[in-house]
């Protein structure tokens, strides 16, 4: 296998959940065709994927992986455009892009490295941090309840919605592959513990379980997604919650005709 990891110095903490996503990503790449892949990353610890992986990449501004990815895909529909975004990145700064990309079924894949914390800025709460989270900006405890991003994505009918956990490498790899191969907007929420600021590894390892099959209806998918609401102590279902084939944005945008400026000018006389 060709070298998929660059010699760049890696600066993730030892044991960081990001390694698990990088490994899964690395294994999937040859299977989906590395040459056609563009990796778009956000800003945060997760974003360093762009510096570590040997593929074309766009290290975007904080929160903006998704519009960049749609822009790339609209320009070259043959590319396989994959976002690696953070929870702060995509659920805080860039949430409107997430909702709209799902709604318009932009044919991109969004992998969220969800560690429920702004890690790179040293431990502040994000949209998925639990109520009471004590971070550097919330010494008295976070006053807000978390979002449930899986349920949120279902509510806007994202055409592929899945969750995985870096502690389950085989599962993670399969889900990422399936998401990339799905034609349409693919949303993959990855539970990625941050060992430095919010180590959920032991806890999640106990509570996660793989769903045996895809829920048979949209209603059932939402029920499944609501079992764990990111604050209760329920077990955490992993796997594909929902999958649907529908027309993708970028196919609708194709335009091939030449512009006839002469005709436009003649008509304006």
């Amino acid at each position: 296998m060709e070298n998929l990891i660059l010699s760049t110095k890696n600066t993730w903490c030892p044991g960081c959940g990001n390694f698990g996503i990088q490994n899964a990503f690395k294994e999937v790449l040859p299977e989906v065709g590395k040459e056609r892949v563009v990796l778009v990353t956000g800003i945060g610890c997760h974003g360093k994927m762009a510096d570590y992986i040997n593929v074309s990449s766009f290290y975007a501004l904080h929160g903006r992986t998704i519009p960049v990815a749609t822009g790339i895909k609209s320009a070259n529909n043959d590319l396989q455009v994959i976002c690696c975004a953070g929870d702060g990145d995509v659920y805080n700064e860039g949430i409107s892009h997430l909702l709209h990309a799902a709604k318009r079924n932009s044919n991109i894949t969004v992998i969220v490295h969800d560690n429920h914390v702004f890690s790179l800025t040293v431990k502040q709460p994000t949209s998925t941090s639990p109520e009471g989270f004590t971070g550097s900006s919330t010494p008295e405890g976070h006053p807000e309840r978390p979002l449930n991003p899986v349920d949120l994505m279902l509510s806007v009918k994202a055409s592929f919605v899945a969750r995985s956990f870096v502690g389950k490498q085989g599962h993670l790899k399969e889900v990422i592959k399936e998401g990339i191969e799905h034609k349409g907007f693919s949303f993959i929420e990855v539970l990625q513990p941050c060992v430095a600021w919010y180590n959920t590894f032991p806890e999640y390892a106990k509570r996660v379980y793989e769903m045996k099959e895809i829920p048979s209806s949209f209603k059932e998918a939402r029920e499944k997604a609501q079992e764990w609401d990111y604050s209760n102590e329920a077990d955490i279902p992993l796997g594909v919650f929902y999958k649907e084939q529908k027309e993708v944005l970028e196919d609708k945008l194709e335009k091939t005709t030449e512009v006839d400026i002469g005709a436009i000018l003649e008509k304006s006389k």
Partner: protein
């Protein structure tokens, strides 16, 4: 101001939704087909129904892209139209009014005026047309009043009415017979020109420079570009959720190899500035059409201001350069938007086209004299490709080929990997500085400042005030100077053209004199300023008087 013989000023005014703009355009097209130069100024409020709208049409034998305070014809569709505009009418001017909606007692008591009542309802009824055809009726009876020949003018009119043409022409014929001819009209003597709004000319310039994709979120006065391009085959257009999405999609699209432009006004541009900065750092081309309107904040959405010169010039955080141009009419909008797109690709940086309400939405006769074409850029698609290689401009490659293309908003090494090492940071900064220096060098060989006339006094303006400055200064013996390029500022060229003058007066439609500030920054003292900041453009007489008071 004396009107040149055969110059005609027409105002057509009514409530929003009454179609005065459409009628104004039809009249413009008729004079265009009669061989006259036509300019149309649009004034409308930010409402969909009601409110007061008007179009003012300048008709002349020689180009006149400005409006006058003295009007020859007023076509009034409601009471407000009479109230707002009749006092501007010249002696013996012609007031045509819709007697269905305006009462006689609301008319001005001026014996000198030719007052022509018409009942548009009656005409429609008689010709068995529909309400929507009132415009056709109004335009046609105006054709008669102004002295046009029915056969000739109606041929031009017919072209503009592709739907229900027969019924429309029946209405036109009936209306034409309803009024008397009040003026003689000979042909203007020129061949007809395409009539384009500045927005349309800018879009066409971009297309000729290779535009492939356009992203925008609606915002007056830039929306015309989005609407125009959406109808244009061959250019991909997309309207996403916000200007933040717009600029970032634009960057993604450019990165993947498509010549891309985005458009907005000040408020949207404020949101886009993160992308301006990203473009500079990642060296990804992006061209922004920034059509200014009156701010701050939401301001006066459909009215004029040139108040984002300094904002655009310093937009985006960090040390960087943007290529900024300021066209003054449709021809310059065409030429300079093409140039902006080309330069952004050649130098891999953000470019900004400073349009404004007047330029974007007014209609000009488009001469099409400048050549705009897609200029080549250096590309390289090889396995050991490095995105940021070299000392200045790095060859471009796009993902999907052999090259691995790593773009980033972090400071980076030649491969596009983030670096923080002091030497590497400095080196990469200097690479970009050299690129900016190369751009300055190239611009030395091109048209960055234009002038017209000679004199002791220089009148310096930028952008859409071009038309009115040209008209107001006729016969004054002044030198007119306007920069086409705002950044990098053509400092030397500006000093050169101003060197023979002893007094500099700046004309701007803003409150703080932003070009004057910029000139002072570059060591050029400005002695006089003519500023206007009520959202309206200068009229010829107004500007003339204000300049004269400073001479």
């Amino acid at each position: 101001m004396e009107n040149k013989e055969k110059d005609i000023q027409i105002i057509i005014a009514g409530a929003a939704g009454q179609g005065s703009k459409k009628a104004g355009h039809l009249i413009g097209k008729l004079f265009n087909s009669y061989g006259f130069r036509v300019f149309i100024h649009e004034d409308y409020e930010s409402v969909i129904r009601g409110g007061h709208n008007f179009s003012q049409i300048s008709v002349s034998k020689e180009e006149c892209n400005a409006i006058s305070d003295k009007i020859d014809f007023l076509l009034a569709l409601n009471k407000d139209a009479v109230e707002n505009h009749s006092r501007k009418m010249k002696e013996e001017g012609v007031l045509i009014y819709d007697s269905d909606s305006i009462k006689e007692e609301d008319l001005p008591s001026r014996a000198d005026l030719n007052i022509v009542p018409v009942s548009l309802n009656e005409i429609i009824k008689e010709a068995e047309g529909i309400d929507l055809m009132k415009n056709t009726a109004l335009v046609s009876l105006f054709m008669k009043v102004v002295g046009m020949d029915f056969e000739k003018a109606s041929a031009a009119l017919k072209k503009e009415l592709p739907v229900k043409t027969e019924e429309n022409m029946r209405v036109a014929r009936t209306a034409f017979e309803k009024v008397d001819k009040l003026r003689e009209l000979k042909e203007g003597g020129s061949h007809s020109l395409p009539l384009l709004a500045g927005n349309e000319a800018a879009a066409l310039g971009a297309i000729n420079a290779g535009l492939e994709s356009y992203f925008a979120y609606p915002m007056t006065p830039s929306t015309g570009i989005l609407n125009f391009l959406s109808k244009t085959k061959g250019v991909k257009t997309f309207q996403p959720e916000s200007e933040l999405a717009v600029i970032n999609m634009g960057l993604g699209s450019s990165y993947a190899g498509k010549r891309t432009m985005v458009g907005t006004s000040g408020g949207g541009f404020a949101l886009m500035t993160e992308g301006i900065s990203f473009s500079a750092q990642a060296e990804i081309p992006i061209c922004v059409a920034l059509s200014q309107r009156m701010g701050p904040a939401t301001g006066v959405p459909t009215y004029q201001a040139q108040a984002d010169l300094l904002f655009a010039s310093s937009s985006g955080h960090g040390d960087m350069m943007r290529f900024i141009v300021a066209p003054g009419d449709a021809d310059e909008a065409y030429e300079l938007t093409g140039k902006a797109l080309n330069i952004s690709w050649k130098y891999q940086l953000p470019s900004i086209v400073l349009l404004d309400k007047e330029l974007s939405e007014n209609t000009y006769g488009f001469k099409g004299e400048s050549e705009v074409f897609k200029e080549d850029v250096v590309t390289e698609d090889k396995e050991d490709y490095e995105r940021y290689a070299g000392e200045s401009i790095s060859p471009l490659a796009f993902p999907g080929g052999r090259a691995m293309v790593k773009a980033t908003g972090y400071e980076h090494d030649s491969k596009g990997i983030a670096v923080e090492d002091a030497n590497k940071v400095k080196e990469m900064h200097e690479k970009r500085l050299r690129k900016y220096e190369n751009l300055r060098e190239e611009l030395k060989r091109t048209d960055t400042v234009r002038t017209c006339g000679e004199g002791d006094v220089a009148i310096v303006f930028w952008g859409s005030t071009k038309g009115v400055v040209m008209e107001a200064t006729k016969g004054m013996g002044v030198k007119i100077v306007w920069p086409l390029v705002i950044q990098p500022f053509p400092e030397k060229k500006m000093k050169e053209v101003l060197s023979g003058t002893s007094k500099i007066i700046c004309v701007e439609t803003n409150a703080t004199g932003q070009l004057a500030k910029m000139l002072r920054c570059y060591g050029t003292e400005v002695e006089g300023q003519v500023l206007k900041y009520d959202g309206r453009p200068f009229t010829i007489e107004e500007l003339k008087e204000r300049i004269e008071s400073l001479l």
